[in-house]
Symmetry: C2
Subunit: 242 residues, 2 copies
Amino acid sequence: MAGRDDVKALVFDVFGTVVDWRTSCIRELTSFGNARGIKNVNWADFADEWRGLYQPSMEEVRTKRREFTILDTLHRESLVTLLRRYDISLLSEHEIEHLVTIWHRLTPWPDAVEGLYRLKRNFIIGPLSNGNIGLLTRMAKHGGLPWDVILGAEVAQHYKPEPEAYSRTAQALNLEPHECMLVAAHNDDLQAAANVGFRTGFVVRPTEHGPNSTKDQSATRAWDIVTDSFNGVADAMGCARY
Amino acid sequence: MAGRDDVKALVFDVFGTVVDWRTSCIRELTSFGNARGIKNVNWADFADEWRGLYQPSMEEVRTKRREFTILDTLHRESLVTLLRRYDISLLSEHEIEHLVTIWHRLTPWPDAVEGLYRLKRNFIIGPLSNGNIGLLTRMAKHGGLPWDVILGAEVAQHYKPEPEAYSRTAQALNLEPHECMLVAAHNDDLQAAANVGFRTGFVVRPTEHGPNSTKDQSATRAWDIVTDSFNGVADAMGCARY
């Protein structure tokens, strides 16, 4: 790969790229609904709608209509909106907190942890996510993600795909953009990173949005790496197998 | 220990508490001086003077005479001052960078890594240091420090012992101050953390400043934990031995 020798850090999109948010979310919501006796809710729809409120909630921050607000807070607000939409009421603060922190307990894709361990031996690895530090730290402990450092929105004080989200992440690592590679399952994220000079690795996650996924089923550009697993990224970066 | 059950995260002072900066610094400076043929320099004095410029350089930021500036930059400026003082000239940019990054390659005290691994199983662990993210990340990889997250000055945008350095660290972890414990070899650091509600663990490092150390040879208050190693902290926090 051209320029691979310059790369010192691999930073990762998290939701969809490292973790299977949808399956994890549906599983936890279903389990909660059953325990709480909430009937007639399609929790897959609920999960998709919750995720659907993700971009609009960050857009308020990106457009400066709202000061920087961490994702846990945005997730909570979206949840409250949805609970009203689904006519689910009388949840305790403890129960709402339990639901909000579903996003702290997402399960990694099966190849993620092994690939990260291989990459960690040769590179600095960290999330470059719109998630906040508290969320990403707990997710890492929950899923065994061996990050060297937690980066992203909160460190940069900007949400992806704003250019500062990438450039300030490189800066926080004392690196030039071309010394950083973003690994993501989303072409638009990679494009934004490439625009500020990052190297790019596309990992296709064909079922991120469930069986009817249509977006990001293939690379829309010749990214530096195009593969279907973190082991594929580690292979391309010349990392030893265990 | 009173209140121990509330603690969710242990955050650590780094220079002096986790790593033996002085021995590491003298070793690298001596090796550099020998290789470069620089004679008649007492590198122990040089190391102590470099560290001596640490607090004054941060004080410029604390008093707002200067905008927030990362420690790597302050270290570089102090180094340039010292090189002039010692009449050492004609160093290349590459050599200066090599010297500045001595602080990225400090060696942990012998008990530090084992103690951190024990604590990591039960708690979130991270540095709460005045070091910047790039410095602390490389130091962790160099020394095998298994941090869950890198915190401190750069995340808080304040240098210890300013209260924001502690309170914003707790906030970044979604925790209340009383759910965080600062572990440090310095009584003044612990006092500042206690002032905002942190729990406190004192680990005496009697030789931090070399054979003639006089400061912080014992606890000046009844901190929540008083011990002489990270294994002592892990024992006090009820962590299993390997």
